[in-house]
Symmetry: C2
Subunit: 187 residues, 2 copies
DNA sequence: GTCTATACCGCGATAGAC
DNA sequence: GTCTATCGCGGTATAGAC
């Protein structure tokens, strides 16, 4: 694999694990098996490399979510499938995690890919809810944008509760609790 | 105010803002207007001080939540009141934020107060849901533990979405979306 | 493109004076 | 109890050789 690629992937992993403040150029170089000079040749500094890594992680999150949400089935089936797909719950969300980092939130260049990822996700979820509403699965009164935000929040919050507990259980409870609350098909 | 008290409160603020890795003893001393020797006289080190600060924040979170959840009103009214009480949404949750910190999650001493806080919160919310179920407000099939986890997750996830967007809007959408989904009183 | 050397600063803590 | 001095280490980057 080329150096640039190794640098980006190593940065993705470290940002996921330790966040932006907790990730040093030196640690990235070690993980990527790249030298100091090599890293600074390809990237202006930590921030620029982080930006590339965050964009990559955002793209991967979108692809994975879209894969689930574009399957066949009812809206609830697709949403439920997305929520329950295999996840490394205790590692948390690689994109959502970054919102805890003040340096990421404060820097427009770094926050942008995070913002875009969740904007896309909420829009995509709202489409699925709207489809369910159109075909009579959901009542006309169900607001797609609100429901989409709730679904995305349960996931992100589920990670928080799981990491707090040191167990995947609260995540699974939260997800199942949400699925329970989704309106049943009004056949 | 006494030195110890100033140290704890300053640490609470810094942990909220910058997390554990992002908070240095020097920054704490500056914020608390305490000297180096003073801090190390009262606390063995950064970890011990952080533990005291996290315990304090957890106690404050529990008190604030209990205040809302113990009011008069239906279960949905109390839950809704808790979700919609005034919050500094863009600052996020001072306790939930810590789950992003690998050093906190890895250290049992630091994770314990975080775990206990959310365990308490989920239990308290489950009580409210169970009360709503007993008095006929909620159907018998509604699972209190699941629903409680979902409510707590929506809050924590709402913060994540809001910070990602740089706006409180996704938080408010997620909360309202959840309230919409809660069963209406079967009168 | 990648290497090594160098720089400056802040981190987290200890030591001992007052 | 609080102060200043000191320590070893790592963060983040620049410079210039190869």
């Amino acid at each position: 694999m080329e150096t640039v690629e190794r640098l980006i992937r190593s940065t993705q992993e470290l940002l996921w694990e330790r966040g932006y403040v907790g990730t040093s150029p030196k640690a990235i170089q070690r993980a990527a098996e790249a030298g100091q000079g090599s890293m600074y040749h390809h990237f202006a500094g930590k921030a620029e490399l982080a930006k590339a890594a965050i964009e990559r992680s955002g793209a991967e999150l979108r692809a994975a979510a879209d894969e689930q949400l574009s399957r066949d089935g009812s809206a609830t089936e697709r949403i439920s499938g997305y929520l329950k797909r295999e996840r490394d719950v205790l590692r948390g969300c690689r994109v959502g995690r970054l919102t805890a980092d003040p340096d990421v939130v404060a820097d427009p260049e770094l926050r942008a890919p995070v913002a875009e990822t969740f904007a896309w996700l909420r829009t995509r979820l709202a489409e699925v809810v709207a489809e369910g509403r159109r075909n009579g699965e959901y009542p006309a009164g169900l607001d797609p944008d609100r429901t989409a935000a709730t679904i995305a929040a349960v996931l992100q919050g589920g990670y928080v509760l799981a990491r707090a507990a040191g167990s995947t259980e609260p995540f699974e409870l939260a997800v199942q609790g949400l699925v329970d609350l989704l309106p049943e098909a009004t056949k």
